[in-house]
Symmetry: C2
Subunit: 336 residues, 2 copies
DNA sequence: TCCACGGGTGAGAGCGCTTCCAGCGGCAGC
DNA sequence: GCTGCCGCTGGAAGCGCTCTCACCCGTGGA
């Protein structure tokens, strides 16, 4: 089996340079091209990635960085869905993807990625507003796409959903079903999604002329914090709770029922994410569906775009969300 | 900032070869070594991976292959935990990891991995007994470690847990609490874990002199199939069900309670995996805990071992499992 | 004092590929 | 018929590193 360009050149009776041109789309006469292509086909030749990278700087390998705390990382399906989406989209055009999870410090991870000198671009999932890893990548000359983050000030591409708008929508839904004392259990402070959802909630409340004093309690995107925060809100008196994500809502639900209260008759409950279990809660949870897998796919496409047309400026994509109304906010009526 | 070996050589007043020796541990006088190390430190030099790979064949990059159907892939935390374990272990010694999920056909994936010519070794998570991807990797000269699979016939390293023994243990536990008509809802046929768990179950039953006729129903490792299979088993009459995994058990639980039966009074229920939710079911589920993350870590270590000592023959690791007894098999008594 | 030896070092040849540059032949224009 | 141009092609120079080989020099034995 032919392994190197020289072998192929010999087999097809042309020079190595010409074979390289055929592979990379350089100017070659039709006759020569056909001949070489035939040999290429028949030998099943694949270029050596290391050599190609060394000579040209293009490797076809892109990096994916998901530097989150282990307990956050794969706790829900967010990162895995993202990964699946990216993998599918990258499979079409890239040679492979290198993955960095949070096994090292951010500085160390950044250092390794940059010094690798192998990557053509990076997709980084950033959950926190401030992230030195993101800063470092953006400061480098490595084409970078952010997922779940927005930086207006830089030449970075990004993909995100409009948390603010979605939070506004679901809060407005709660208002529309007659709730007035609507509490909010936040996500982790300092995260993009956490902060944006707070803002969206506050905006909807304000527009409706409703107060939010004492109605915002800090959570941590998980069941335990949801349960604790819900207890606090119940004490302060609420008729609805919008939780920063589904896991938080699950915790809140436990607390609410533990106190002998009914959902949604006494307390309407809403989440965010529409994870698998949301539809299986009792009652099924009203929530916001965001196409996480689609975000992964889009991120890959944005990166390809940036690689293909480096001068074209960064591309920004905001994906739509969907309000999924279930019985936790509109009891009695059978929805979905 | 110094970027190439030549720069470093100039800076430290030695030849490129000597700098390379310092980096790679060749014979160098102490004085020279110290001098070069100082420069190395101060410049923060990192070797170019592509060039190093091209010249030596060693890249420090290992491949991780998880070629499963999307619905299987990250449905539960199995693959993500595996990934986290590997990532942590690889971080210590490898430059990076390339990931392949099931976005392409197995043939295409295999082809890409092999032609990449960049990887030092591969860790492949194989769920099915027969897998052309595994065959192809083993047939190549690429050092390969299997996770969740055993091949006695080849020079492959592997890491696995003893499903058979574990299934025997949990079945024996059901017997020891007085059950006699113990049904088994299998995993997907043809998977290593599915088949081994059947065998373990059958072995325990046989040893106790209990029949298994009509007591084995095929499942698919998920809730839906568990619910359906349980219905069938209940019709045939059972006093206990051992499910091939926790998700299956969750489905079975729904069916059992749907028929107005009590767990464990009427039907004792056992699962396998000890996923997060197992402890939160009502009643909490007796199951087998397997250290998935640990499997990932071990797999990385086995691979490093093989890379360090290629002649040393493959290493095989079987990790222990743990029987976690909860109220789904021993109601009344408060366990855990 | 001479020779054999060996640890430490540098020169240089690649690894497989891309890409610049020069050259070749054929065609149009004069 | 000769020059000029242009499209293709091959030669060759690297990309940054590893590793073999030869060499240098200092040491110990004869």
């Amino acid at each position: 089996m032919a392994r190197t360009l020289d072998d192929l050149a010999a087999l097809s009776g042309v020079s190595r340079a010409t074979v390289s041109r055929v592979i990379n789309g350089g100017p070659v006469s039709a006759a020569t091209r056909d001949r070489v292509l035939a040999v290429l086909e028949q030998t099943g030749y694949r270029p050596n990635v290391a050599a190609r990278t060394l000579a040209s700087g293009r490797s076809g390998v892109v990096g994916v960085v998901m530097h989150a705390a282990p307990r956050l990382l794969f706790q829900d399906r967010y990162f895995s869905q993202l990964l699946e989406g990216m993998s599918d989209a990258l499979a079409e055009q890239a040679a492979g993807m290198m993955l960095w999870l949070g096994s090292r410090s951010k500085e160390e991870t950044l250092d390794r990625i940059l010094s690798m000198d192998l990557l053509e671009g990076v997709i980084v999932s950033a959950t926190y507003l401030d992230d030195p890893l993101v800063d470092g990548l953006l400061a480098s000359r490595l084409p970078t796409v952010l997922v779940g983050h927005r930086r207006e000030d830089r030449a970075a591409g990004y993909v995100d959903v409009d948390h603010l708008e979605a939070a506004d929508t679901i809060t407005t839904h709660l208002i529309s079903v007659g709730r007035r004392r609507i509490g909010h259990i936040t996500g982790i402070r300092g995260t993009v999604s956490g902060e944006d959802r707070i803002t969206g909630y506050a905006r909807a409340m304000e527009r409706a002329g409703l107060a939010t004093d004492e109605l915002i309690v800090e959570g941590e995107f998980n069941r335990q914090s949801g349960a604790a925060a819900a207890a606090e809100l119940l004490e302060r008196g609420v008729d609805a709770i919008f939780c920063a994500n589904d896991a938080t809502a699950e915790g809140a639900l436990e607390t609410i029922r533990g106190k002998g209260l009914r959902v949604p008759e006494d307390i309407a409950l809403a989440g965010f994410d529409d994870l698998d279990f949301a539809a299986h809660l009792d009652p099924p949870l009203t929530t916001i569906r965001q196409g996480v897998q689609q975000q992964g796919i889009e991120a890959a496409h944005v990166l390809f775009q940036m690689l293909k047309d480096p001068g074209g400026g960064p591309r920004r994509v905001i994906l739509p969300t969907e309000l999924v109304i279930r019985r936790s906010t509109v009891g009695g009526v059978q929805v979905r």
